[in-house]
């Protein structure tokens, strides 16, 4: 009987120790959020909501300008020109450009060429075209783009006594290749203020 009580006590002690060792372990909590929603982490940099907002505003402005109404064909061929990142951020500019490409392509008014310009290059498509040229002996006709899209990202930092403001400007221009004229231009800005944390004095 005594042995039985001792073994029960030992078992409970072991169970308690096990619970104490594993029960208090902090499990990192992860939840899925809308990447472009208000729950997205807001930082002094450009977050996912900012990219989506900038892309939407630029596309809205381009479509509202009716600049594509005088296109020589439908869909008009667009080549993505340079996207200059003059911010202090190491970002992939496709975070902006891809959203604009997707939106413009879906309108049915724009087809984006991948064989010209500094945008996304279709390497396999180019190789396939070269192979076709070799096999058929005919030179493939490359479509000259009707428009080129040029973009620039700029960051301006202003420091107050307690607050730092980062203003990010998204500039975009649509150039008609035949005339070299800019047929649409837009600049949208997002300003972010960050309060400086108090310094620790020793």
């Amino acid at each position: 009987m005594k042995l039985n009580l001792t073994s029960q006590f030992t078992g409970m002690l072991a169970l308690g120790a096990l619970l104490a060792l594993t029960g208090c372990e902090t499990v990192p909590e992860t939840r899925t959020v809308d990447a472009k929603g208000p729950e997205a982490v807001n930082t002094a940099a450009i977050n996912s909501q900012d990219w989506a907002s900038a892309a939407d505003q630029l596309v809205g402005s381009l479509l509202s300008s009716n600049a594509l109404d005088n296109a020589p064909r439908t869909p008009a061929v667009l080549a993505v020109d340079r996207v200059i990142n003059n911010t202090q951020l190491m970002v992939d500019t496709d975070l902006l450009i891809k959203k604009i490409r997707v939106a413009l392509t879906r309108t049915g008014k724009i087809a984006i060429t991948n064989t010209m310009g500094l945008g996304e290059r279709a390497v396999v498509a180019s190789e396939a075209a070269e192979l076709e040229e070799m096999q058929s002996g005919k030179k493939q006709k490359v479509i000259v783009p009707d428009y080129t899209l040029y973009a620039k990202l700029i960051q301006q930092s202003d420091k107050g006594t307690k607050v730092t403001q980062n203003t990010y400007s998204f500039q975009m221009s649509l150039v008609q290749t035949k005339t070299g004229l800019t047929v649409w231009e837009e600049e949208k800005s997002i300003a972010k203020q960050t309060k400086r944390s108090g310094s620790v004095g020793w």
Binding site: D34, K36, G37, P38, Q49, A52, S53, A55, D56, V59, G60, L63, S64, N66, L68, D69, K99, V102, A103, L104, R106, T107, G108, K109
Partner: protein
Amino acid sequence: MKTSSSSPLRSAGALFATGLALLLTGCATNVNTYERADSQATPNYVADKRVITDNTLAGTFRVVAINQATVSGNLLKVQATVENLKNKLRTLNYKFEWVDANGMAVDSPNETWKAILLQGRETQTISTVAITPQAVDFRLKFRE
């Protein structure tokens, strides 16, 4: 002697009154607006249906009007005029959604929750353009 005892009291009273005045008016960032009395614009207003599930939000922001236009030949553009009913700066999160002729939601990569800041009693417009001609209807959602 009499003046020396009443002076601190008077100063405290003045300070209290100033503080109260600042408390009542200092935080307000209301916006005064002036515009042409007889507007030359002829907006194409849309009759809207409202589903309110958050009365506090509805008491903070009011949709004054919604109008629409066609841009780039066949794309629908919608603009809503929103008013901040409070006397303080408020952030409004809004989102547009598009619906096609069959009542199906039209996916649009850039139609996400967006935030705007409205000063006290300020009226602002928010707008969007459908990226496909198939979009014929819209939904506008608000959250604070």
